[in-house]
């Protein structure tokens, strides 16, 4: 167990260093890093002083490790476009994105899982076919199109839901939440559905496929032969064993949700990190792009790590096969 954890931790650190290397190259070689740090209005003497202070005359390897050290200590530099420290920008935007991603994830899971179980148990029923068609649409329709359709229907035609922004937010210390006000909750509905739709379809198809597979196995037949109720067989035996891959996918998809929120945030003008990144790309605001990359990379690596460890806890087979399973 300890060896497994240490090995995964080491992998995570290597990936993070690689991501930091990409971010560092961005920061160092695209544009002038001094201007990236302090903005264009700084006088020449000041820039020279910063250049020395940043040790830009030092070997590249030293510079890289200083870059990593700065990020680890929470010094992210300044946005080119707005002149605001990036740490502050991110801290303002992070709660919006996290709330959106988590609510979308819960929505996808709460709807996708029952739909998947149903289509797995009754593959020939008409409702199952309807669910499957819906999931095909969910996979095929681009996220932004789903968002636009929702806006067209619920905001323009029916005038029921707000089409942009977060509504009123309540500040709880450094965290701003839209979950505690009526307009905040209303504003959250359409973006969460838009963002969660793809995941919903994915979870449903996955659960269905797993259920179909598990229901064919011998231990299910044996459980039926023992005279257990349908409920005990379907939920106690079958569903439980389909959950292992579901945990992995759901975990990994949480990272994807945060990344894909770029599109949803753009459609609904949701003031999160994705919108910030998008503006950075449009204005070639390299420092913000670099830091966003590092932060998203960190979130992904963290989620992967947790999922790996969770997998290890849930699936006893892994404990034996750790070495055999690698290197493929």
């Amino acid at each position: 167990m300890i060896a497994f954890v240490l090995q995964r931790l080491a992998q995570a650190v290597v990936v993070m260093l690689a991501v930091a290397l990409v971010a560092f190259s961005l920061f160092r070689y695209v544009g002038d890093p001094v201007i990236n740090m302090v903005g264009q209005d700084t006088p020449e003497e000041e820039r020279i002083r910063i250049r020395e202070q940043l040790a830009l005359d030092q070997p590249v390897v030293v510079q890289y490790f200083r870059f990593v050290q700065q990020i680890v200590s929470g010094n992210f530099g300044t946005s080119l476009r707005t002149g605001i420290p990036i740490g502050q920008l991110m801290a303002e935007r992070l709660p919006a994105t996290l709330e959106l991603a988590i609510v979308a994830g819960i929505f996808a899971l709460a709807v996708g899982l029952p739909m998947g179980v149903y289509t797995g148990l009754y593959p020939r029923s008409r409702l199952s076919n309807a669910f499957l068609t819906l999931s095909l649409l969910g996979v095929s329709l681009p996220t932004f199109l789903i968002g636009i359709m929702l806006i067209l229907f619920f905001s323009v035609m029916l005038g029921l839901l707000p089409s942009f922004g977060r509504g009123d937010v309540v500040h709880l210390g450094p965290w701003s939440t839209g979950l505690l006000s009526a307009s905040g909750l209303q504003s959250l509905i359409m973006p969460a559905i838009t963002l969660g739709m793809f995941q919903l379809a994915l979870i449903m198809r996955l659960v269905r496929a797993e259920m179909l597979e598990v229901l064919r196995t011998d231990y299910i037949k044996f459980a039926r032969a023992r005279g257990l109720t349908n409920r005990a067989v379907n939920f106690g035996h079958a569903l439980k064993n389909t959950l292992i891959p579901v945990i992995t996918i759901v975990g990994l998809q949480l990272g994807a949700l945060i990344a894909f929120s770029i599109i949803t945030e753009s459609v609904f003008q949701w003031p999160g990190m994705g919108l910030l990144f998008l503006q950075a790309v449009q204005f070639a605001d390299i420092p913000v792009m670099a830091i966003y990359l590092v932060l998203i990379g960190f979130l992904f690596v963290l989620i992967n790590l947790i999922v790996d460890l969770l997998y290890y806890v849930v699936d006893p087979r892994l404990r034996v096969d750790v070495r055999a399973g690698r290197g493929g």
Partner: protein, 305 residues
Amino acid sequence: MVAQRLNAILDSDLWWSFTRSKVVVGAAIVTLLLFVAALIAPWISLQDPWDPGALQLINSRNPPVWIEGGTWEFPLGTDNQGRDMYSAILYGLRVSLVVGFLAVIFAMVLGILLGLASGYLGGMTDTVIMRVADVQLTFPAILIALLIGGIVRGVMTPADFEAVAVYVLVLSIGLSQWVQFARTVRGQTLVEKNKEYVQAARVIGLPARLIMLRHVLPNVMGPVLVIATINLAVAILTEATLSFLGVGVPATRPSLGTLIQIGNGFLFSGEWWIVIFPGITMAILVLAVNLLGDWLRDALNPKLR
């Protein structure tokens, strides 16, 4: 050799499973129709939407023909610059398909070369290529495509960027997709390289380059084609998404995604047709290609036979 294999496939299971499913045949027909429509767009469109001289602002934001105020001159209405939506969609389809195909071909070539090298040569080459692939897989493709676009934007002036925007798009979507090809090809190559025909080729002293390209490559192409089909849908979606986000093709030569983005600005003023028609076209295209890809994957999967 390839033609022979193709013939053998068409004669056998694949063709049979194709004709068996109505949905798949339908998807194939729809895909073909859209491809042909994009190909002959200049001949079946009503105006050239890429020619600013042909657009007249007087005609801007006309409704479709079946709504009051619409004319047969613009059957699906016009956008804010007086572009005929029907013609714009045909040309947009063209841009979307061209970018999608080029991106997948680029990703395929890059992925095959790196995958072959990784699998056949092994050692350090393998380690380096696969670790890069691992790190890249940590991030979703759309993020990588956005990032590459952003970097190029940072290096070039806006005017220069406009001129090469399409190529940058192909490059960034292609680079975001090569990993899947490389991993599949590597896995297949590892299996093939220990077979006797490869050993024989090695014994007669052929250079590694020739063995990889002439002997191993033809035998790993099956799964590559499946991935290519599925990735075509993904590439089209990625292009549309990037264009929608305003970092794709320039608005002077709009793709379907660009058209949807333009239409998005007129949702609240009531001009729904600017966004709906390109949106439906996009949805049908991706759905059809996805259905074909799903079917191809199942049909070629030996486990499901």
